[in-house]
């Protein structure tokens, strides 16, 4: 299969005129980060505009968490530079404008939820109202609970509250919904919509293309420390293909199959053909019409990990 990067310009917001650069929420410039022999982030460049909701998408080990950790100044790049609203990542000026939910971000043990929020609130110059944050993070009724006696979901909501309370211009979320059930996830993204409606910027990482599709207006796909695709969720989905149709055929040749409506690419292994689709329903109808010899047809979702690997292989080739 071949991968065609999204057309330049139209939906690649990283290409901004030079005079707008100072306005960038995030500017990552040729950043590299190694852990011993492992190249976690490989010459990464990325610009995020204020008001964007950007999903950093990729399989485990793609470099998402390392990138986020450097954006927050928790770890320093081996090469390259990172700026947040024009200030060096991790500098006092940058910290004042950034809120973050970390995967391993613990909360102060032994204090009450309300006490913790009130304390963190005093660290910021223009924080949100205490009650507003309690409401948005759905912590009402938990304020007298000890931080170390919260359930997993409650802890996650507290992390969100702590990230939000300073009213940050940029919110960075490392796999925020990893431990959430479907209902909580929906509530979470609803709360985030309210946040972006005020012109705030969100950068979040996720494994789930579906989630990026729902919540983000830009998806940056990473694999092996590099950006392998960058565009709107629709553009990414179109180029990856979300489902695969497999069938057996007695005729050789797959020419023309990738041109079927809804199909992205076709590959053949023996007499078995694999048709990757972004609209498997249309593709299936067209397939049956054009290839009556197709039999043993199955339709399945593809693992995103496979898609990443395919894409990176395509890029490397």
């Amino acid at each position: 299969m071949t991968y065609h990067p999204p057309a330049t310009g139209a939906h690649i917001p990283s290409l901004v005129p030079p005079d707008d650069i100072a306005e960038c929420a995030v500017r990552v410039d040729a950043v590299t980060r190694r852990f011993g022999p492992v190249l976690a982030v490989d010459n990464l460049s990325l610009t995020v505009e204020p008001g964007q909701t950007l999903a950093l998408l990729g399989p485990n080990g793609a470099g998402k968490t390392t990138t986020i950790s450097m954006l927050l100044g928790l770890s320093a790049p081996d090469a390259g530079s990172i700026e947040v609203f024009g200030a060096a990542a991790g500098s006092p000026a940058a910290r004042a404008g950034v809120g973050a939910m970390l995967q391993d971000g613990g909360m102060m043990p032994g204090v009450l939820v309300g006490e913790l929020l009130a304390m963190v609130r005093t660290l910021y110059a223009a924080p949100l109202a205490h009650d507003e944050v309690v409401e948005v993070a759905q912590l009402r009724g938990l304020e007298k609970r000890r931080v170390d006696r919260l359930s997993g979901g409650q802890s996650q909501r507290l992390r969100l509250a702590v990230a939000l309370i300073g009213d940050p211009r940029l919110l960075i979320l490392d796999e925020p919904t990893a431990a959430m059930d479907v209902e909580t996830r929906r509530g979470f993204w609803h709360a985030m919509e309210g946040f972006t409606a005020r012109g705030r910027t969100i950068l979040f990482s996720t494994h789930y293309l579906e989630e990026a599709d729902v919540a983000a207006d830009r998806v940056v796909m990473m694999a092996r420390g590099r950006v392998v695709a960058d565009g709107t969720p629709q553009a990414i989905k179109d180029s990856v293909g979300l489902r695969v149709i497999r069938f057996s055929t007695i005729h050789a040749g797959i020419t023309g199959l990738d041109a079927l409506p809804g199909a992205v690419s076709a590959t053949q292994h023996g007499n078995r053909v694999e048709l990757r689709c972004n609209d498997s329903d249309s593709a299936l109808r067209a397939l049956i019409a054009t290839r009556p010899d197709a039999h043993d047809i199955e339709v399945a979702g593809i693992a995103l990990e496979d898609a990443f690997i395919t894409i990176t292989d395509g890029i490397a080739a």
Binding site: L102, P109, G110, M119, T122, L123
Partner: protein
């Protein structure tokens, strides 16, 4: 930063096991020792045993309160990821460290005050009125090196390790520093070691006040030197750790 400091202190005071250990232990030890040795003649400190032991146990409890509030708690916060989260706020690392030092120092007070109250009420210890606040202040201030030592422990050791290391340090410093028994009964090489320890000089500060004389400058200087050494070490190890885990 004031709010953070206040919350650090509050969470320690809420921890019953901690309070029992750092305030209950010295009070119980005071009652035991002052009852057993109370009838003895004046000790080498030149003080009645009930007073000498009161100062020793207040110092012992103060040192424990400070060591436990700084080391194991820092290790736990690191392990839980709270320190990481806190580093994302505008609070600077220097302020975080300063707040933790001050909070740990403040936790010398419960043991000092409880031991004094017990001594006054149960053993009828009476001192000139100005000596009480002087004692409280000097013993609390003299705990500065222990707060810094705790930061070192909390940086190099994790959770249970920090707890254990703190306990060992606590007991060694107390026993060798002459808080449980006069250093004169130790073998002479150990006496030499004892006289270099911060715990020894902390007790000396208190005993001077209780005798009604000015505290010796030397004791203060040794404590300051311990603080400076531990603080430098704390900065060095935290640098090294940041580089390694970053």
């Amino acid at each position: 930063m004031i709010k953070y400091l206040a919350l650090e202190i509050r969470r320690s005071l809420r921890d019953r096991r901690y309070l029992l250990l750092v305030a209950g232990w010295p009070v119980a030890a005071y009652l035991l020792f002052s009852t057993v040795f109370g009838a003895a003649a004046d000790r080498s400190e030149g003080l009645p045993p009930t007073v000498a032991i009161m100062v020793a146990m207040a110092s012992f409890g103060a040192m424990g309160g400070v060591l436990m509030a700084s080391g194991p708690r820092l290790a736990m916060d690191r392990q839980m990821g709270w320190l990481r989260q806190l580093r994302l706020t505008p609070l600077s690392p220097a302020r975080i460290l300063a707040a933790r030092l001050v909070a740990a120092m403040a936790l010398s007070l419960p043991a000092i005050v409880l031991t004094f109250v017990t001594a006054a009420l149960v053993k009828g210890v009476s001192l000139p009125i100005w000596e009480w606040p002087m004692l409280v202040l000097l013993i609390a201030a003299g705990c500065l090196p222990f707060a810094a030592i705790g930061i070192v422990v909390g940086t190099i050791a994790d959770g249970d390790g920090a707890q254990g290391l703190t306990m060992v340090l606590y007991l060694v410093l107390a026993a060798l520093g002459g808080l449980w028994m006069p250093v004169q009964i130790l073998p002479s090489p150990l006496q030499t070691v004892a006289r270099t320890l911060p715990s020894y000089h902390l007790a000396q500060l208190g005993w001077h006040i209780a005798r009604g004389v000015a505290p010796a400058l030397g004791d203060g200087l040794v404590l300051l030197a311990w603080f400076a050494g531990a603080a430098l070490l704390a900065v060095a190890v935290s640098r090294r750790l940041t580089l390694r885990t970053a």
